[in-house]
């Protein structure tokens, strides 16, 4: 039997897939919150992402950008353990330590559309739940589109 989308959160919780050491050892990926980056006047986007104590999950674990471009992410580690952040970016991925109770800002550049995974790449933080998604919405520039009539999409 399958659940509907609206029932999914409740089912994840009931089974114990949205927390640490319940049904599974870790937390099923992408079961955390969804958040949106803010478009600022200077043309950059901004977001805050924190690590929830003892939950090994990014909050939000799915960050939505309205379009591709430059993104400043302030990471906040509220956990009582040290983690880190490895985030894709054009040119080179960005990496930073996130010691217990620390805050730091990272700047990345991402193309849209599409989505990217970021993570804490130490130990098995990734398997336990510290993998998050950055979703970039929008379309490619008109100059990059095919010269053809509009086509149906799924």
């Amino acid at each position: 039997m399958t659940s509907t989308a609206s029932e999914r959160s409740a089912a994840l919780s009931e089974i114990g897939l949205d927390g640490q050491n319940q049904a599974t050892i870790g937390r099923l990926l992408a079961t955390g919150n969804i958040g949106h980056a803010e478009d600022r006047d200077d043309g950059r986007m901004h977001a805050r992402i924190r690590i929830v104590p003892d939950q090994l999950v990014w909050d939000p674990s799915v960050l939505v950008l309205p379009h591709g471009g430059h993104l400043d992410i302030e990471f906040v580690n509220d956990d009582q353990n040290t983690h880190c952040a490895l985030v894709p970016s054009n040119g080179d991925s960005k990496w930073m330590w996130l010691p217990n109770y620390s805050r730091g800002t990272m700047s990345v550049t991402l193309d849209g559309p599409g989505y990217y995974w970021f993570s804490s790449n130490i130990g098995n933080d990734e398997g336990r739940g510290l993998i998050g998604a950055i979703v970039v919405r929008g379309d490619v520039p008109e100059s990059a589109r095919l010269d053809r009539p509009q086509q149906p999409r799924p």
Binding site: A85, G91, D92, W95, M96, G114, N121, V140, Q151, R153
Partner: protein, 576 residues
């Protein structure tokens, strides 16, 4: 905005500043400015500087032949690894199970420029393997990839390294630092487009061809200004209604708009004709021809494209109205015979096409694989289909399978021996037509496909220009990697099991082999530093193995550049 509030019961500290992940490697950060003086004129005359491998095929003629001869039939048995560059992925990336190392290394005056899967580009010290710089483009996890997370190489000129990305961008990087100079979006990922091709520098332009035929895009080649990234021309390989060739598509409906025909492998170039010779891919849907009656130009064709304007001057279609996924993307090798300017193209459909490259006139057609059951092409060019998916759900079996008798991986031609050396795959497949509605970005094959995992064979086969087989080096598994030939009268080839072999170019005798630990699906090249010759081969099994060798689906991935040389004077001091 993410609504994340600070906790009031915590006194936060500052995290150490974020850094480039590449700064946490042994990379030195800079490469000598060797590309600054690489000009179109030097690439035109690339074979006069055999110490370098300046362009994708080594030279514009696509021969994959090097005049270097320090390593030869007498001493090749002594070559050994000089250094290995190994690089494994970090975090989750697209095509986690399909990434492969399909590169052809470019070498300029002791510096090697390499692209990998998933947006990686590296500059390496070609003597020691020391990483000099790295560039990483962020590739969306969800890009549409028919055939794995791959990239076939870079181009270099005027101080820049040009590379394509899987999300259909074309980049120019500073060859000394790896920093991005310009970045243009060349294709539409929402339409299923991507870029895997190694760019070709011609004059002051960078030419690339798109990928995405399995998703029903409309194929195109593009030329970009080398300095600014501005598009100079675009050549669609599927004509719009009313354009020449449009009569080969249904006059009603939009089959042309989804017609495929992508140019996803680098072309060759003849400065005398000023023509690019570029192979085009399969029509879409691959196997359901009933929705696209007609020959479907310019799919499965060799097209001769004016390098200045992007106009198609002539074409030769190898598989009209393809029903077998027989792309014609593979190389067009330029050569001369009896005073004629010719090209040779070994096609997926099992036949070699020798054409007059000034006119496109057919000179010769000959088969180069043992089993061809899909149909027949007579010497006069008449195509007679025999076995093909036709009735809905009715399975047919044919040879060669959709990977072809030769995949995109390249043959070589030695002007010393007058022989072509061809990596051959002899594998069949079962296909049943299964019609589906077209939806943008969703695979559009029109069939259920299973490729044989047994009863297969491979070889490197040598043919003379008349199409006569001169020798054959047999392998139990199909040969799925490009070959390289040298003035040392050697042919180098990699096997799917990981062996890298050296064959006598005149006899096919196996002279040397080395187990690289992972299958080969790339294009080796050769170079020299201070007179010492090196052979470089990217090793890394993967890509659409289900299509070309499902019997090796479980084969180990790899991600290493192996470089071989004679043992004297090896300097493996790369690293710190």
């Amino acid at each position: 905005m993410t609504d994340i509030q600070d906790r009031t019961d915590i006194e936060y500290g500052e995290a150490p500043p974020a850094v480039d992940f590449g700064s946490l490697t042994s990379a030195t950060g800079t490469a000598p400015p060797v590309v600054q003086d690489v000009t179109y004129e030097r690439i035109l005359d690339a074979r006069s500087e055999p110490q370098n491998w300046l362009t994708y095929y080594g030279a514009y003629d696509g021969q994959r032949y090097s005049p270097l001869d320090e390593i030869n039939t007498e001493n090749v048995v002594r070559i050994r690894p000089a250094w290995v560059f190994s690089f494994s992925p970090h975090g989750l990336h697209a095509g986690q199970s399909t990434y492969a190392f399909e590169n052809s290394p470019i070498i300029v005056d002791g510096v090697m420029y390499v692209s990998g899967w998933d947006g990686w580009v590296w500059a390496l010290d070609a003597r020691t393997g020391q990483m000099l710089w790295q560039y990483k483009h962020a590739i969306p996890f969800d890009v549409s990839l028919c055939c794995g997370n791959v990239n076939r190489g870079v181009a270099v000129a005027n101080g820049k390294v040009f590379v394509c990305t899987l999300n259909a961008h074309v980049l120019a990087l500073d060859a000394s630092t790896g920093e991005c100079v310009w970045d243009v979006t060349s294709g539409d990922v929402r339409a299923g487009e991507s870029l895997t091709v190694a760019p070709l520098v011609v004059k002051d332009r960078v030419v690339v061809g798109s990928s995405g035929g399995e998703f029903g895009v409309r194929g195109h080649l593009d030329a970009y200004d080398m300095e600014t990234g501005e598009r100079v021309w675009r050549c669609y390989t599927i004509p719009k209604p009313g354009e020449p060739g449009s009569e080969t598509w249904p006059s009603d409906g939009e089959a042309w708009a989804r017609g495929g025909g992508n140019g996803w492998v680098t072309g060759t170039f003849d400065p005398e004709t000023n023509l690019l010779y570029w192979g085009t891919g399969n029509p879409a849907p691959d196997f359901d021809g009933e929705v696209r009656p007609g020959d479907n130009l310019y799919t499965d064709s060799v097209i001769a494209v004016d390098a200045d304007t992007g106009e198609i001057r002539w074409h030769y279609q190898c598989t009209p109205h393809d029903l077998w996924d027989y792309d014609s993307n593979m190389e067009c090798i330029l050569f001369e015979q009896d005073g004629r300017q010719l090209l040779a193209h070994f096609d997926k459909n099992g036949y070699c096409f020798v054409l007059d490259r000034t006119t496109g006139e057919r000179v010769r057609i000959f088969p180069f694989v043992d089993r061809i059951t899909w149909g027949e092409i007579s010497p006069d060019g008449t195509v007679t289909p025999r076995i093909y998916p036709d009735k809905e759900g009715e399975e047919v079996h044919f040879h060669p399978g959709p990977a072809g008798a030769k995949e995109w991986t390249h043959a070589a031609y030695s002007p010393r021996t007058g022989l072509f050396y061809v990596p051959v795959q002899d594998t069949g497949a079962k296909v049943a037509r299964r019609r589906r509605e077209f939806k943008e970005s969703i695979p559009y094959w029109g069939a259920a496909v299973t490729v044989d995992a047994e009863d297969m064979a491979g070889s490197v086969t040598a043919f003379n220009a008349s199409g006569e087989e001169v020798w054959r080096w047999r392998n139990d598994l199909p040969m799925c990697a490009s070959v390289l030939t040298t003035a040392g009268d050697l042919v180098f080839a990699g096997t799917p099991s990981g062996l890298f072999v050296a064959l006598d170019a005149r006899t096919g005798e196996l002279l040397w082999q080395f187990n690289c630990g992972s299958g080969h699906h790339s294009s080796p090249s050769t170079y020299s530093i201070d007179g010492k010759q090196y052979i470089a081969v990217p090793v890394g099994w993967g890509a659409w193995v289900e299509g070309f060798l499902p019997g090796m689906m479980g084969g180990p991935h790899g991600q290493a550049m192996f470089v071989f040389s004679l043992p004297e004077g090896i300097d493996s001091a790369g690293g710190r």
